[in-house]
Structure formats: C-alpha cells, structure tokens
C-alpha cells in the first residue's frame, strides 16, 4: 500500500469538514464537521507512525488517542454552548449569533 492513499483520504475528509464548517449554519452540524477534521488528522498521525515504524508507530497511536480524548472534551463543551445559545434565542442558527459584530 502507498502512504499517499491514506494521506489523500485524510486530505479529502479534512476538506469536506472545512466545507461543512463554512457552509452549515446549524450549530450541531458545524460540530459534526469539526469531528470530520479531527478524524482526518488522526488518519495522518497513524499513517505516518506506520510509515516510520518502531518508536514512531507507538507515538502516532498515542497522539491519536490524545486527539480522541480532546475531541470528546471539545464536543461536551461545544454542545453545552450550543444548548445555551438555543435557550437564550430559541434557535441554533449561527448566522444570528452576531453580538460581537460592531
């Protein structure tokens, strides 16, 4: 197998995630697209670890595990924030959240 198979799959998932973050306005769907981006990163970490072998293989796997843990924390806080937005303005439309605009 070529290393590029995995790297290009990661790149494709990353760009689909970027499209989702830019084009969606429902807050929950934006968080789902961020998960796609994080998964693309994990594929790259494990593929490079596998490519170089030895200590790197272990490091790649451990870093992927850490990314998964950080992603879990991020989704918990993110969904709490989205819930708060919904409670304050009865919609999760992110285009309406523009209090920071001058």
């Amino acid at each position: 197998m070529l290393i590029n198979q995995f790297l290009l799959l990661g790149a494709a998932l990353f760009c689909i995630g970027v499209y989702g973050v830019l084009a969606r306005k429902n807050g929950v769907l934006v968080l789902m697209s961020i998960e796609l981006i994080l998964n693309a990163v994990n594929i790259n970490l494990i593929a490079f670890g596998h490519l170089w072998g030895g200590e790197s293989a272990i490091s790649g796997q451990v870093f992927a595990l850490f990314t998964i843990a950080v992603a879990a924390a991020e989704v918990g806080v993110g969904l709490a924030i989205i819930l708060l937005i919904y409670r304050n303005r009865t919609s999760v439309d992110l285009d309406e959240v523009d209090m920071m605009k001058g």
Partner: protein, 172 residues
C-alpha cells in the same frame, strides 16, 4: 496486499461518500447517522494500519459516546426532525471553492513529495514481533511511561471540560 488494497478502497469510498452526504444532507438525524458510517470506516482503516487499540477506542468513544451526545444535542435543541431547508447558510458557493482549492493544494503537495512511497508491509516480521513493537501492550507501556505527564494533563482537561459543560448547561 491485494486484499488490503480492496478493503482500503471500499472503506475510503464509504467514508468519503458518507462525509459528503453528512455536509449536504437536509436532515439533522441523518447527518448523525452518516457520522457513524464515517467514524466506523475510519476505525476500520486504523486496523489496516496495525493500530487495533486506536480502532477499538475510536468505536467506543466516537460511535459509542460522541454520536449519542450529538443525538442528545439534536433532541435538546428541538431540531426539525424531517427535511429542513434552514441548515445551510448562503456561503455554500464560496465554501465549495475554498474546499476544492484546499484539496487541490494538498493533493499537489502530497503527490509531489511522497509520490509512490510505499508503506512497509512487515511480511517478513512474525505476528509476535509486530505485536511486541506496536501492539496494545506497547501502547499501554508507552502511555504510562514516556507519555505519563501528557496523559495526566488529558485527564485534567477532561475533568475541566466536564465541569465546564455542567456549569454551562445547568438551569438555575
């Protein structure tokens, strides 16, 4: 090797197609279910890369916990359960241009640099030697020796995030 390539093709097609549907579907619950397909295929791709433990954690944490969290989020924000036309904003065109530009640049860079570099196939290594080098036991040893401090930091981060989520979402 051929079998692995076929498996990779199927999994890559499944994950990319489901990811595309995830960012274009008009139904929020369907998006969560497409996310399950993407995450499971990515977990299977980890198995192809000899990372069984990460694959199991991917299924346990992502499919088992995070997707359920998303479904709760969909339920609690009372999203419209059928087709909804209010999920996308009006930047779809420019977002597609940005994503295509990014994929073009990344593809060019990766193909230019890595070209036809092959992954090592370890066919001359025994399963036991491979397990000793990168199996679950080696990953566990590494987490609790080399990466002990980051591991404790992750534990603290998860606790802080949990407390923060409860403080934010609590009704009082």
């Amino acid at each position: 090797m051929v079998a692995q390539n076929i498996a990779f093709g199927i999994l890559a097609a499944a994950s990319v197609l489901s990811a595309l549907r995830l960012v274009t579907t008009k139904n929020v619950v369907h998006a969560a279910l497409y996310l399950v397909v993407v995450l499971s295929s990515v977990g299977a791709i980890y198995v192809l890369l000899f990372a069984e433990f990460v694959a199991v954690v991917q299924i346990l944490v992502y499919v088992g916990a995070i997707v359920v969290l998303f479904l709760f989020g969909i339920m609690l924000t009372r999203a419209q359960l059928g087709r909804a036309d209010t999920l996308d904003n009006d930047q779809r065109g420019i977002a597609a241009v940005t994503a295509l530009f990014l994929v073009g640049v990344l593809t060019y860079v990766l193909v230019d640099y890595f070209g036809d570099d092959k992954l090592p196939d370890y066919e001359n290594m025994s399963q036991a030697a491979l397990n000793a080098e990168r199996g679950t036991r080696a990953v566990g040893d590494s987490i609790f020796s080399t990466y002990l401090v980051p591991f404790e930091a992750i534990g603290l981060l998860l606790t802080a995030a949990l407390v923060g989520a409860i403080v934010l979402a609590r009704r009082d």
